[in-house]
């Protein structure tokens, strides 16, 4: 059976070529409401909606400023807040310093708005049940990861390092230094924190496919965020918006990065 190419929308549509619309658009601007809800479905939803409202509308703390994820090429301040907490909780959990934490920007699903921070807001920005894990990376592997993040997303959110893209588009140089300490030594092994999801499936991880010692913490990332907000709230403090400045670029290099003109 061959499907006729003829679509009608009140008027005859011209026979379309492949990949073109087969119909003139409907007129969504003409819509006004007046569509009632289905009573049975609405009734089944109502008690669940009440549970959601009760559990998810609780205000944990206040955010004095909006904490945005930033557009491509802007620093991901929300990601900085999350990775700072991941690093801190991982250090506390292990009882030894964790030098570096990272997540992928795609794992954060919403900005945090200024004003009351509700349980629902934290679920919205982190809907996934991913867990905090710790593993070992060499300085070289950390650098590889940062470089991969620059290539793919013009820099992914992370904590514990300052990253710099210098050189020229023809000869880019990625360097990094540990916060408040020395430049990152490629041979030194450090503890790093990330999510079980990224470690297991993250594309472009330098250690992908290689067996690494992974230390689970049993802590969900979302739970860490919820507890951090609750702690600040109970102390009457508002959520801090992390300062930008973890990534720096030689003149013209950010533009070259965004225009994909860098010869990696």
């Amino acid at each position: 059976m061959v499907l006729s190419s003829l679509f009608l929308s009140g008027a005859l549509a011209i026979l379309p070529s492949a990949g073109t619309p087969t119909l003139a658009a409907a007129q969504p601007e003409a819509v006004t409401p007046a569509l009632p809800e289905d009573p049975a479905v609405a009734q089944a939803l109502a008690p669940c909606a009440a549970i959601i409202r009760k559990e998810f509308s609780q205000v944990l703390a206040q955010a004095s400023k909006r904490i945005p994820r930033g557009k491509l090429g802007e620093e991901n301040l929300l990601g900085y807040w999350v990775t700072d907490l991941m690093r801190e909780r991982a250090s506390r959990c292990l009882g030894q310093p964790v030098a570096f934490a990272f997540i992928n920007s795609g794992g954060l699903r919403a900005d945090l708005q200024a004003g009351p921070v509700r349980v629902a807001d934290i679920f919205e920005l982190m809907p996934f049940d991913n867990e905090l894990v710790v593993t070992e990376y060499t300085g070289r592997e950390v650098l590889q990861l940062l470089r991969g993040g620059l290539i793919k997303k013009a820099g992914e959110p992370c904590s514990g390092v300052l990253i710099s893209l210098q050189g020229t588009p023809e000869r880019p140089v990625v360097s990094a230094s540990w916060l408040q300490t020395a430049p990152l030594d490629p041979e030194t092994t450090v503890l790093i924190a990330t999510t079980d999801y990224l470690l297991a499936s993250g594309d472009g991880l330098p250690t992908r496919g290689r067996s690494k010692k992974v230390i689970p913490t049993g802590l969900q990332i979302r739970q860490i965020l919820l507890e951090a907000c609750a702690e600040l709230g109970s102390q009457g403090k508002s959520l801090p918006c992390p300062a930008p400045g973890r990534y720096s670029f030689a003149p013209g290099m950010l533009e070259a990065l965004l225009e994909r003109r860098i010869a990696w």
Binding site: S4, L6, P21, A24, A25, A26, E37, V41, Y197, S201
Partner: protein
């Protein structure tokens, strides 16, 4: 005011089209209604440019209204029912499938996020689904109990008209946590779908062949997508798509296949109308992306 404009817009051009005389007045007809990537948006969206749009209770009401007109009708979903609101975190997809069943869904497929509660979570949620979930390109060797719940294809028979339905899913790598799809494998959909299409055409003798696809409309050559699928697998009349959250006002046509997708979060209900022509050929005779608007207008 419930005026004529509202009526026209609310039911869309397709409603008018469905009243247009066809070449064969008595030829069998069917209406396909569809959603994709509803992502646990059981209530209308609370914020953003689409605030107030959507909600499964109003979707159910619209479907009921269209069904009450008495024609042959299928309500279909192209996957990613799960993940996106606290409803998923709290009820793990069970509520989504329960309310979709109440709304009268006839079939659905699996998106990548439908694995977000893991294999066990998905099986538990599926207990609430009274409609079949279709997929023909996943392998279930390591998850046979889930595999038993998923049908590679199904046939819906109406007076004078048989509709074949199947589903295809997107590759897990980079999208689904390996632990969450443990035991379920992915195959390029072209070969398995081709086999299902042949079966539906040659053995089941369906008149209209519909693929519920969670591949995405267009990946610009980076991965198999609906546009490629239509080119590579002949014999598909309709691809109801998802995954890329693409807002389309009308279907696109690739060769003999009509591809449609209506955004995400259930803010629109897709509609495509088909009739059987004198030689048994399916004639596409109307479509619309019906917006589910806010009560407040």
């Amino acid at each position: 005011m419930v005026d004529r404009r509202a009526f026209l817009g609310g039911l869309g051009a397709a409603f008018l089209a469905s009243r247009l005389p066809l070449r064969a007045e008595s030829s069998p007809r069917i209406t396909l209604l569809h959603t994709n990537d509803t992502h646990s948006h059981l209530e209308p969206l609370a914020s953003g440019s689409l605030a107030g749009r959507g909600g499964i209770a109003r979707r159910a009401a619209l479907v009921k209204r269209l069904r009450s007109q008495g024609g042959n009708l299928l309500l279909l979903d192209a996957g990613d029912v799960f993940q996106g609101t606290p409803y998923f975190n709290r009820f793990k997809g069970s509520l989504d499938y329960k309310l979709m069943s109440m709304a009268g869904y006839d079939a659905g497929t699996l998106g990548n996020h439908d694995f977000d509660a893991g294999i066990e979570g998905l099986m538990t949620a599926l207990e609430e689904a009274t409609f079949p979930i279709l997929n023909c390109n996943f392998t279930w060797e390591g998850a046979p109990r889930l595999g038993q719940k998923i049908l590679p294809w199904t046939v819906k028979t109406f007076p004078g008209l048989k509709v074949g339905l199947t589903g295809v899913g997107v590759e897990f790598h980079g999208l689904v946590f390996p632990k969450n799809h443990e035991g379920v494998g992915w195959r390029d959909p072209v070969a398995p779908l081709g086999a299902v299409v042949r079966r539906l055409r040659e053995v089941e003798k369906v008149d209209l062949l519909v693929v519920l696809s969670h591949l995405g409309l267009d990946h610009h050559g980076a991965a198999i997508d609906d546009l490629n699928l239509a080119r590579l697998v002949p014999g598909i009349d309709v691809i109801i798509g998802g995954h890329t959250h693409t807002f389309m006002d009308t279907p696109v046509r690739v060769d003999d296949t009509h591809i449609f997708q209506v955004g995400y979060a259930g803010v629109n209900l897709g509609r495509m109308d088909f009739a059987l022509g004198p030689k048994g050929e399916a004639i596409a005779c109307g479509s619309a992306s019906l917006p589910l608007v806010d009560r407040r207008g």
